[in-house]
Amino acid sequence: MVLGLGVLIAGAGITLAGCGSSSSGGGSSSGSGTRGGTYRVEATDFGFSNNFDPTGEYTTASWGIYRGLLVRTLVGYRMTGGVAGNQLMPDLAANLPTPTDNNQTWTFTLKSGVRFAPPVNRAITSRDIAYAFERIATPSLAAQYGFYYGNILGWDAYASGKAKTIAGITTPNDHTITFRLTSPTPDFLYRLSLPATGPIPKEVAKCFPNAGGYGRDLISSGPYMILGSAQLKITSCATVRPLSGFDPSTKLLLVRNPNYSPSTDTASMRTALPNAFSFVINTNQTDIFNRIRAGLVDDSMSAPPASIVASIAANASQKHLIRTGAADATSYISMNLTQAPFDDIYVRKAVNLIMDKTGLQQAAGGPLFGAIATHIVPNTMYNNDSSITGYDPYATPNSAGNLAAAAAQMKLSKYDPTHNGTCEVAACKNVFSVTGNTTQDINEVPVIQSALAKIGITLNVRELPPSAMIATVSSVAKNVPLALSQGWSKDYADPSTFMTLFESSSISPTGNINTSLVGLTPSLASQLQISIPKGVSIASIDARAQACSATAAAGVRQACWIALDKNLMENVVPWVPYVSGNNVHLVSSAVTVWDYDQASATTAYSHVAVNPSKQAS
């Protein structure tokens, strides 16, 4: 998985699973859980990107564990599904502050009584949060979303070693921390909800000067801690050994943190009912779900395949075991605005109109696994605003494509010289396209090929392993005309985390996330050693995106992003968005409480409970 500003999904089929509205389950589960038991989770692979060190960890699976169980941040979420789950709440902070200086100065007061888990045991101070930021700014620790904090005053000076502290972060006392920014950043609270900003005790973390090391000895600030924490000796770095409860290749075992005080927390964020959590690697995916059905395991970190979901959904006594939640992710086809025939907006509109989105949804596992997407940013991230929920500029019957409407657009393009509604020129034949080689990705190919053939576009599709697919698509030099089965999910619930995909500043030679090259200028193209076809003018949304980013008033800001989303869909047309993905979970019958963590797009581990008497062993 390539990790960018958002999380670029390697083949939409890999991560996008599950659907919000479900006939057999739902986004959240109420229920009266009781304390006790162990919540048992299995995964084919943890997939941790930085050995579970919060500074560099950039996977939704790890974020779910951090937020619910181990790492508290100044600002958090309600830990539930839907729009409510994207609403910010104070966590370590006593209140959500009101920024001053045009959203450039943010001062927080910390709650009292929050302590680190053993063996540190002491109260968490503002200095521990400042230290977390210093780690993010330390290049050797490989923070993967440090760009969110680059406008903190003095950031670059600290990162380059020219300063001993970050000038823009001050801690006048143990309970106060102030951030001074160099530019207005109305979404700064969201950025403070990311787990890398959680407090880190220097007395332990200083022992790990390299990326990922601290993950083996993470000191919890949440309701649980890694097994073995109490036995850890931190008198010197020489005595610090990996905690017994964590081995990245086999297990992560959590027990209660005796220093956690529920009075410093809220039930809407964490109820912390199970006594323990076990996350165990089981490389056999089918076995995981068989074990869940048998009551031997309670949950999985990966989505069940459609074949298993279908068999469970067909069983009236088991269908309640399927739980779903919106992933705040969009699956899309990316069209390169510099490559024929997609350098013509009428062709791009025709592609949107001919696409069989229902077929693509079916290839993804059907409606349970995602709703049809009609624009860029998932509706949940617009708080289901009525001005966008019904918006579909390329509506077709049953979302299965409309040949007449597509042909009408194609007739207007330069690639249909005979104006017969199909592209007959060479530029439309054998168009180089890239996709993943997962089953879902491959199943999507014939749907796309079949649809495009109707307007005269044929594809030369390369099916690549996910990592190779991402490397190819994100290489500007490769200049892939059509990238199939792409996916993007949020880092936090602000549309800016999607819109950055279309800003010219996101275009880079490798690791490029602006795969449509929206906003590419002749000078930038020259730097990248690519060319813009003669007569083609590439639209830019830079100014509008920056204006939206700088807008603080929530309602106005949201309206600004919605207008930009519509502008992209109608006047730029870089994508064919087709599925707003959901996550599907299969839980055991021993699970009595289960909720969905909308912010992390996974199980809300802080809101689950099990009945041990129903757990098989």
Binding site: T286, P305, A306, S307, I308, V309, A310, S311, A313, G359, Q362, A363, A364, G365, G366, P367, L368, F369, F432, V434, N437, T439, I442, N443, V445, P446, V447, Q449, S450, N460, V461, R462, E463, L464, P465, A468, A471, T472, S475, K478
Partner: protein
């Protein structure tokens, strides 16, 4: 004879695949998702109009299986032909000339045999997949051609060794010595005296190499390194089946049975040829 009959029938079916598809009215890439996929996108099983059921994309599996025979036979025959051509030519030269040339060619074949086959295939496939041009200036692009080249590269050394060893034995024989004594050129000795005597082992080994090539293509495609999905191949079908066989047995059974029967038939034909051409077997 049964095996030969099966292969002949399969060849006819493969050649006539477009006619069969026309007759049924289902192309190999035609989608029937509304009728042959359920709400979860899972395929429906065999019926009168879809004899082998549908695959994961809602395509007619029967039509794709008979189209898949084309790929298997083509890969098997062409890759084997290339491997035989290389192996026989180099084996003849090495066996007849001996000396440094023999040593060099033998070591090259040893190197090829020592190469990690799958890693090499993955490397070539990856390197040639990320640009429209493929690699080697467009000579190698992912798909059928690349698979055939990879299989041929790894198949010729075995043929080379057989031919080289047989040639070395033959060049010491009385009839070759006699030819030399009467002044026959080395070239004529190679083509008129030795090559005809190599026919038996070459034919027999070729017949056994074909099923190996077919299986190798299936392996590569199963791993996502071979034929793209738009070209039906049994390996690709089995790859899809591995994800869905618990709910769609037909995805594994039909291509699997065809692959099994084809490989078995080629092996039986190879055994038969060996028995027929090897005088010791007759005794």
């Amino acid at each position: 004879m049964v095996a030969l009959g099966f292969l002949l029938g399969l060849t006819v079916l493969a050649i006539g695949a477009p006619l069969v598809a026309d007759l049924i009215g289902h192309g190999p890439n035609d989608l029937y998702r509304t009728t042959m996929l359920d709400q979860y996108g899972l395929p429906k099983g065999p019926s009168l109009s879809f004899l082998f059921g549908a695959d994961g994309a809602g395509r007619d599996l029967f039509v794709r299986v008979i189209y898949g025979a084309r790929v298997s036979l083509l890969v098997g025959v062409v890759a084997t032909a290339i491997a035989v051509l290389i192996g026989v030519t180099l084996g003849l030269v090495a066996g007849l000339r001996g000396g440094i040339l023999d040593t060099v060619l033998s070591r090259i074949s040893d190197v090829v045999l020592a190469m990690p086959l799958l890693l090499f295939a993955i490397g070539i496939s990856s390197a040639c997949s990320t640009t429209p041009q493929g690699c080697v200036k467009g000579t190698l692009t992912p798909g059928l051609n690349l698979v055939i080249v990879v299989i041929a590269i790894f198949s010729w050394p075995a043929m080379f060794r057989i031919v080289r060893a047989t040639t070395m034995s033959l060049r010491q024989s009385a009839f070759v010595e006699a030819s030399r004594a009467i002044g026959m050129s080395e070239r004529n000795i190679m083509f008129r005296e030795i090559l005809p005597n190599l026919l038996s082992p070459v034919v027999v080994y070729s017949a056994l190499l074909i099923p190996q090539s077919i299986l190798f293509e299936a392996y590569l495609t199963f791993l996502g390194l071979g034929i793209p999905d738009s070209t039906p191949s049994w390996g690709g079908m089995l790859d899809q089946a591995s994800q869905l066989f618990t709910v769609a047995w037909w995805l594994m059974v039909f291509p699997g049975v065809f692959l099994l029967a084809t490989v078995l038939a080629f092996n039986l034909v190879g055994d038969g040829l060996r028995d027929a051409l090897d005088p010791r077997s007759a005794q």
